[in-house]
Structures are given as structure tokens and as C-alpha cells.
């Protein structure tokens, strides 16, 4: 896309420092205010649409070129590997813990976000760490780790380019793989001038170079590195981290202490399963055969190794934080299969609602898009996120895109059904009343016909035919403004009236004409 010669105003809504409110809004979270802002921000929608459409197209092409008609079998295999691990997670976790400890890593157990933060802070304190370099990790966003470290006096720097810029801007990621899809180069240029004292440039290569040099200065002084994990390998005790920029290498190997924060769903049985899952992960995310750096860490530096974390310097924090509640619901269609997710982001890129919503901020949580719409309510409570299961047209693109065959549309429908059971949200009551009225009318044909004729007459009388001419072929007229709650429809499009005659009259006339009036 072309870039304006002069900096323009900010594209996303001005965030509060830290971007905390974006991912940790007051609960219950309602989507409407952010959606209203996003749907009016054409530029934001264009950024998100361009970025996601391109990745979606490239993903499909790369799978076609690599696997052809075998793709279905490969996805089924990947799904069965993850599902098998989840179904026997206690076994594989024990195996992982034993092997990781044998390799010299220290394993910690965090039941919730607060405990995970406390463990990190204790490690930082025990190692006298003052400067932490951090690689991009959604789970550390989930536990709000960075503000906790900063509050405890450990300066913490996001080193992924996108996350680094978001941190400078006090903003929050809007996509789980490519966090900065809601910003353009002018926003980066302004942030670098303001926060780093860099000369103004809009050249992405120069901007990347500025960040590279700045962060190298920090890597040289950092004493603590923090990363997430893409996989935990049970039979070897290895942690697998996939990145493209190389920043994670500095956070894993360049500091004396390395903390890994990983959700328990990251387990896989053995290294052989990486041969299947890695082939799907990078292609699903960015259409690459593999990420540039696929790193397997098995314990700290060995005795004669010239670099890597100290003996006792590798800490793995296993995080539950609501995941066992999903695990509890196994069986076909149960919530357990949501934990198969490998966070590739393919469902976000495929989703028309994600595009229209201007990216992840509209979802009010760390995990956004279709997977977020089922994961967030499952982890944080349906009553806290009553709108998310409705943030979908159920077109099915997300389910088609998922490399581990999570039936996302089915989970959306299941959550909607559960919400009805809970009597949530309040809008559901109005919907129930409408359905009750409809049921009543359908059971009383005369009343139904009377009601239909009445609404036809009223709507056609109100029709103003909007800005366009009426369609002569369709015998339809148009309403450009409906009253009351129905105004939500006409804010964005006109509403068609019914034709002058209803189907029954049309059918009677049609049949009469067909039989030439012989038998009437």
C-alpha cells in the first residue's frame, strides 16, 4: 500500500498506557462500543483485511502445493496426536516433568495467573535480575506478566518487533501471530522518534534496523530471558520455541536465566510428532515451510558449552489457569478439543467478522478471532464474555482453516445453547419472546395470515425506497430507517419490504393460470 507523505492521525483508538484495558476490560465485556468504533474506521478495516486476506490466500496455496489431496489426512493425524495427548495429559505431563528435571531444568506449577506471576517474580528476585528481555508469547499476555515484572522493578522489554512497537506505544496486540496488523509504518515512525530519539523514517527496512540496534544494546545487558513455548515434548523434556526474527534466541540463550511459561495443552508425546505438527504450524500461520528458527531446548548449558543459561538457570512454569475445566469436558464435541489449538492464527485470517471488527481488540481478551470466541468464554466464564459466541456468522471458514480440526462453528453453537440455558445475555429474553410469538402465530393460521397482511401493508406504506430506485423485477420496496431496536439493521443497510402479494395468493394465481382455469 502507498504511504502518506506526512504522518496522519492514529489509526486505532488512543490506548491507555500499557494497553491493559484492551485485553483486560471491565467484566462483563460487551463488544458493541469497540465494534461501533471499528466499523466506522475504514482505514483500520483495510489494514486488517489486507493483512489477513493475503495470509489466508498464501496458506491455502502452500498447503495445496505441499500436501495436495492428502491435506485432510495430515490434519486428521495432527488432530489425533493433540487429542491423544490431552486425553492422557496426566501421563505425558509426568513424563515431561521427569525428563525436563533429568536434563537439569526446574519445573514449577501454577494453578492460576497470580501464582505464575509470583513464581516469575521469585525467580527474578532470587537471581538478582534487573533487565528482562522477553520474546512474544500469548500466555505471558494471558497472565499479565510484564506489568507485574515492571512493578517489581525488573525492567522488561518486548523484543519481537511488533510487540516492541506496541510496548513503546502503550498498545496491545490485535492478532495472536502478527500482533501489529492494526498499525501502519507512520505509527512506527512516530513511536521511534518519540521514544527512541530516532530520525524520522517510514522505510520498513530502516525501522527494523533501528529496533535491531536498540535491542542489541539491551540483549548485551539483560540477565533474564522469558519466552513461551510452542510445544513441550514429553519423552525428552524439551521445550520447542518457533520464531522468525531471531529475538527468541537472545532470550533463550543469551541470558543467565531463562524462564519458559507454557500452558499444559502444549504437551506432545515425542519428538517424532513434531514432524507432523511443525509442518502444519508455520504453513498455517505464514505459509512458511518452517519458522526461521525452530529451537529445541533441553535443560541448561552443558558443562563445556560456551553459552546458554547457567546450571539451574532454566525454569519451566506449567500453567493451568482454567485449562483443566476444559479438560474435564471430554467426549465428542466437548470443550476439551479446544485445547488442541496450536495458536497458528489461521482461523483469525480466514474470518470475515475478524476483518470487519478491525482485528483482535474488539474481542476484549488476549485470544481473539474465532478461536478466542470459544476459548475466552471457556477460560474466563460465559457470563463475562456473553457476546463472543455470537461474533460469528457461522460461515465455517474458521473450521475449514483449523490445522488440528477444531470444529469451531460447533463450539460457537454449543456455547450459544449453554448461554440460553443460563438465561444470558439479556437480549436473549427479547429473542425468546419473539420466537414464542412466532410459534403462537404458526399454530393459528388465520391469525398468521392476518398478521402477515398487516405487517406487509405497514412496511410498504412506510417504504421510502431509500437512495436507489425500486427494483422493478422484484416488486420490493426499501426502508432506509426502521424505528426502535430494528434501527440497528438500517444503520448499515436498507431493509427490503415484502412483495405486494404473499406467497399463498401468488401460488393460487399461479396454479390457476397453469391449469388454464379448467377445474376451477
Amino acid at each position: 500500500m502507498s504511504s502518506p507523505a506526512h504522518p496522519t492521525g492514529p489509526v486505532a483508538s488512543a490506548p491507555a498506557p500499557g494497553g491493559d484495558h484492551l485485553l483486560e476490560p471491565p467484566l462483563p465485556y460487551r463488544m458493541a462500543p469497540r465494534l461501533a468504533r471499528a466499523t466506522k474506521n475504514i482505514q483500520l478495516q483495510q489494514f486488517v483485511a489486507t493483512a489477513t486476506r493475503l495470509k489466508d490466500t498464501k496458506r491455502i496455496a502452500s498447503f495445496e502445493a505441499t500436501f495436495g489431496d492428502r491435506l485432510g489426512a495430515v490434519r486428521d493425524l495432527a488432530a489425533s496426536i493433540k487429542q491423544h495427548t490431552l486425553d492422557h495429559l496426566d501421563h505425558y505431563l509426568e513424563q515431561f516433568i521427569d525428563n525436563a528435571q533429568r536434563a537439569g531444568a526446574t519445573v514449577h506449577y501454577a494453578a492460576d495467573a497470580a501464582e505464575a506471576r509470583d513464581i516469575c517474580l521469585r525467580i527474578a528476585r532470587d537471581t538478582n535480575s534487573t533487565l528482562c528481555v522477553k520474546s512474544k508469547s500469548m500466555v505471558t499476555e494471558e497472565i499479565r506478566l510484564l506489568p507485574a515484572l515492571e512493578a517489581a522493578g525488573v525492567k522488561t522489554v518486548e523484543t519481537d518487533l511488533g510487540e516492541f512497537i506496541l510496548q513503546l506505544d502503550g498498545d496491545a496486540p490485535s492478532h495472536i501471530v502478527t500482533p501489529m496488523i492494526h498499525k501502519d509504518r507512520t505509527a512506527v515512525a512516530r513511536a521511534f522518534v518519540r521514544e527512541l530519539g530516532a530520525p524520522y523514517t517510514e522505510d520498513p527496512a530502516q525501522l527494523t534496523g533501528i529496533a535491531r540496534e536498540h535491542l542489541r544494546g539491551l540483549y548485551r545487558r539483560a540477565d533474564l530471558g522469558i519466552t513461551g513455548a510452542n510445544f513441550l515434548v514429553a519423552s525428552t523434556g524439551s521445550v520447542v520455541v518457533c520464531t522468525n526474527e531471531g529475538n527468541a534466541g537472545f532470550c533463550i540463550s543469551g541470558t543467565r536465566t531463562h524462564i519458559v511459561v507454557a500452558g499444559i495443552e502444549k504437551l506432545i508425546p515425542g519428538p517424532e510428532h513434531l514432524a507432523v505438527l511443525l509442518k502444519l504450524l508455520a504453513r498455517s500461520s505464514t505459509a512458511q515451510p518452517l519458522t526461521v528458527y525452530t529451537t529445541l531446548i533441553t535443560g541448561p548449558r552443558k558443562q563445556h558449552d560456551p553459552d546458554g543459561p547457567d546450571q539451574g538457570g532454566v525454569h519451566i512454569i506449567l500453567l493451568d489457569n482454567g485449562r483443566t475445566d476444559l479438560l474435564r469436558r471430554g467426549g465428542p464435541g466437548g470443550a476439551r478439543e479446544i485445547l488442541r489449538c496450536i495458536r497458528c492464527g489461521a482461523c483469525l485470517n480466514a474470518c470475515p467478522v475478524f476483518r470487519k471488527a478491525g482485528g483482535g481488540h474488539a474481542y476484549g481478551a488476549v485470544y481473539s478471532g474465532p478461536i478466542g470466541a470459544i476459548l475466552t468464554p471457556s477460560l474466563k466464564g460465559l457470563h463475562n464474555y456473553p457476546d463472543l459466541p455470537h461474533a460469528s456468522s457461522l460461515c465455517g471458514a474458521c473450521g475449514d482453516a483449523c490445522p488440528v480440526c477444531i470444529d469451531i462453528p460447533a463450539h460457537l453453537i454449543r456455547l450459544r445453547a449453554e448461554m440460553t440455558g443460563l438465561g444470558l445475555p439479556r437480549g436473549m429474553r427479547a429473542r425468546k419472546a419473539v420466537i414464542a410469538l412466532w410459534t403462537f402465530l404458526l399454530k393459528h393460521p388465520r391469525l398468521y395470515r392476518l398478521a402477515a397482511a398487516t405487517q406487509r401493508t405497514i412496511l410498504r406504506a412506510l417504504a421510502d425506497d431509500g437512495p436507489g430506485a425500486p427494483d422493478p423485477m422484484a416488486d420490493r420496496r426499501w426502508l432506509s430507517a426502521l424505528p426502535g431496536p430494528a434501527a440497528a439493521w438500517t444503520q448499515h443497510r436498507d431493509f427490503p419490504t415484502p412483495p405486494a402479494a404473499d406467497f399463498r395468493s401468488w401460488w393460487t394465481a399461479h396454479e390457476r393460470a397453469r391449469h388454464g382455469g379448467r377445474d376451477s
Binding site: 492428502r70 495430515v74 493425524l77 496426536i81 491423544h84 495427548t85 486425553d87 496426566d90 501421563h91 516433568i97 536434563a103 506449577y109 518487533l161 511488533g162 502478527t178 500482533p179 501489529m180 501502519d184 509504518r185 520498513p204 525501522l207 527494523t208 535491531r212 535491542l215 540483549y219 519423552s235 525428552t236 523434556g237 524439551s238 522468525n244 526474527e245 531471531g246 529475538n247 534466541g249 537472545f250 540463550s253 543469551g254 519428538p271 510428532h273 514432524a275 512458511q288 515451510p289 518452517l290 519458522t291 526461521v292 528458527y293 525452530t294 529451537t295 529445541l296 531446548i297 533441553t298 541448561p300 552443558k302 558449552d305 560456551p306 553459552d307 546458554g308 493451568d320 479438560l327 474435564r328
Partner: protein
Amino acid sequence: MTTRADFLARIRDALGRRAEGTPIPPPPTDIDTARTVPRSATDLPARFATAAAAVGMTVHRTPAADLESCLAAILRAAGARRVALALTPGMHRLAAESAARAAGADILPPPSSPGFEPHYDADASITDVAGAIAETGSLVIASGPHAPRAAFLVPPVHIAIVREDQILPDLADFFPTLTPNTLPASLVLITGPSKTADIEGILITGAHGPREVHAVLTA
């Protein structure tokens, strides 16, 4: 504080299991379903070269006798003045040392204390590999006494010497060979120069790691 026992008990309870040690069925083993390069493929160097070029590496193929001049030419083209060597003692190391001398570059001393430090001063590095993958064009690099992790990450130009017989067809031939006893502390598959597309999706090479990765294939 949550203990290992508490943590696992909660998971066991969620899974509806009565006790630990319940026998479980074996995990899926039909890894070959995802294979894209046949185990019997005979043109592995050519396949590797194509895949590595596709992800942005520069591939050189040279007879063993010309290894030194090939390395020297890459160092000269990169304008390298200081070179880090991460090679086990042997023919490749000797060739790399001569190449550095021929290109007029100094060889960095080994690190005096654990860490990345001397590598920030290097313009280029020359490393061995533990293997390579034809399918993806990946270099496999294992940490070890002669293989600092900084070598393939910190200098802006990384040159990796790959013996053709080190190339495996597919990821499905590589990962099943890993065991707890043979795994180094760090094992990295490198698939291209470091990259980012965070700014407007525009691909930039040389994000935090090398801008150039050269794979030198030799017999």
C-alpha cells in the same frame, strides 16, 4: 503453593482417572502420512538447494578441494573483517581458518566467560551443522563445546558448511532420531535468514539475527 502432586491430581480428576499409572494406548505413529520427500530420494543436495533458496538462503556447491576458496569468496563479498569460527577440529576448521586468512579477516578469540559477548564484534561466522533437511532447506545446529549458540545468531552473516551426506530427506526422517541421551542443550533448525513482516506485512530480512545465511554444500 501448588505442588506437583496437587497439580497432577487436578488434571487426573478432570480426566476422570482413578489413579496414576493407568495404562494408556500408544500415541499415533503413522508419521509418514505427513512425509513430502520420499525416504528413497536420491537427489537430496539438489532438493535441499531448491528449498533453501526458496526461504532466502544462498546455496553454494563446491568440491572439498575448493572449500577454502569458496569460503574466502563469501567472506570477501561480505566485507568481513572479524570472523567467528564454530567448528570442531578437522578439515572444515582448517579450511575456514585458511579462508579467513586469505580474505584478510581476523578470527575472533573463543569466549573468555560464558555468554554471547565476543560475537557482537563479528562480521561473519562459519559453523558446522549437525544435519540438514532437504524438504524444508533447514540447517540443523546443535550446541556443544565448539558450537556456541551465538555463532549462528549474532553475526550479520552466517556461513554453514554442510556435507552432502548429512542431508536427510524429510522432517519425518529427522525428529524420530532424537532421544534424551543424544539431545544437546540447544538444537536449532534454521530455515532462512532472520525475518520480520511486522510492519505492514512487508518482508524484511535481518531482523535480530543474520541478514545473510550461506549454505556451503560439499562432498
